[in-house]
């Protein structure tokens, strides 16, 4: 099957994950997720905070007449930011499973670079709750805000 060659073995995933944490390079985690490359996101650490950025791309447009970024891309980007945050900061070896995801669209996401920053609000034995925002020019004027629940075992 053609899909199998892109798969990573669980032990390699854990190994790469630990390497990324040890070398303070969250982009190594992002590199393992093909969806991150599909939408064109990059990760960077800035003053002990993890930020994700999304460059404008033709293939991310939802409304060509504005143009505005597709609401699904913003949602996927915020979900990805939450996953990277959870994998990077929490001492877990498995891939977090999304249970639910809720997004509020606050402003139209224009065709320019979008940033995301995530906060882990609670970590339990099974559940993690995160809150994540997306902004473009000004962090105080977010384009979208989302919250997410993950299952970790």
């Amino acid at each position: 099957m053609s899909g199998d060659k892109n798969k990573i073995k669980a032990e390699d995933f854990t190994k790469n994950l630990r390497e990324a944490r040890d070398s303070s390079s969250p982009e190594k985690i992002l590199d393992m997720i093909p969806y991150g490359n599909l939408i064109g996101s990059k990760a960077r650490l800035c003053e002990e905070k993890l930020n994700l950025m999304l460059d404008p791309r033709q293939s991310n447009i939802g409304n060509p007449s504005l143009p505005a970024i597709h609401g699904g891309v913003i949602a996927g980007f915020l979900e990805l930011a939450s996953i990277i945050e959870v994998l990077y900061w929490l001492e877990i070896d498995c891939f977090p499973k999304v249970i639910d995801f809720s997004i509020d669209y606050l402003r139209p996401a224009r065709y320019k670079t979008t940033y995301a920053s995530c906060e882990i609000l609670r970590q339990g034995n099974k559940l993690v709750n995160t809150s994540v925002i997306a902004w473009q020019d000004n962090k105080n004027l977010p384009v979208a805000s989302a919250r997410c629940h993950f299952l970790i075992n």
């Binding site: 099957m1 053609s2 899909g3 199998d4 892109n6 798969k7 990573i8 073995k9 669980a10 995933f13 393992m32 997720i33 093909p34 969806y35 490359n37 599909l38 939408i39 033709q58 293939s59 991310n60 447009i61 939802g62 409304n63 060509p64 007449s65 504005l66 143009p67 597709h70 609401g71 699904g72 891309v73 949602a75 996927g76 980007f77 979900e79 990805l80 996953i83 891939f95 499973k97 999304v98 249970i99 639910d100 995801f101 809720s102 997004i103 509020d104 669209y105 139209p108």
Partner: protein, 166 residues
């Protein structure tokens, strides 16, 4: 069979906007059904959109895009004049992961229309509609006199395919 002027223009315009431009084109969405207040789509599996590299399961963002498009189109389909309906919010519950190498089907329906808000529900499944992958609720704004309309999308689509026809 009666001829409906609105729907006969709406379906090709929607197909053009969702399948031939932007993110819908990138992911390869195709519209399988359009009626007043209900739209269904299908997404073919692609390894590019994998979210979990260990299992090969597609990223949740694809399911959100799929359901947002479905519900957004369903909301647009009930408008008297062609217009864009911005998403206010969307909540998605994941029942189980999508199986790799299989297409994902989705359907969005309008269940309540008020003066300024359109309330929609959507569901995504693979083999069995009774065993969905995800379920969503999404609300959309109803904007009377739109600045952005479907003809704008048409023009953008045409100028993308035929760059000299400005």
């Amino acid at each position: 069979m009666d001829f409906n002027l609105k729907s006969s223009f709406f379906k090709p315009a929607l197909k053009m906007a969702m399948e031939k431009t932007g993110h819908g084109r990138k992911l390869g969405f195709s519209i399988t059904g359009v009626s007043d207040g209900s739209v269904s789509l299908v997404y073919p599996y692609d390894t590019e959109a994998v979210g979990n590299p260990v299992t090969g399961v597609i990223h949740g963002g694809v399911i959100v895009s799929l359901l947002d498009t479905c519900c957004g189109c369903a909301a647009m389909s009930i408008m008297e004049t062609p217009s864009i309906t911005p998403t206010v919010d969307l909540r998605l519950d994941y029942m189980h992961p999508a199986e790799p190498m299989k297409p994902v089907y989705a359907s969005g329906k309008v269940y309540k229309i008020t003066a300024s808000v359109i309330f929609c529900r959507g569901v995504a499944w693979q083999d069995d509609t009774a065993n969905p992958i995800a379920h969503c609720v999404a609300n959309f704004m109803r904007i009377g006199a739109p600045k952005t309309n479907l003809s704008g999308i048409f023009k953008a689509g045409i100028s993308r395919m035929i760059p000299w026809a400005k």
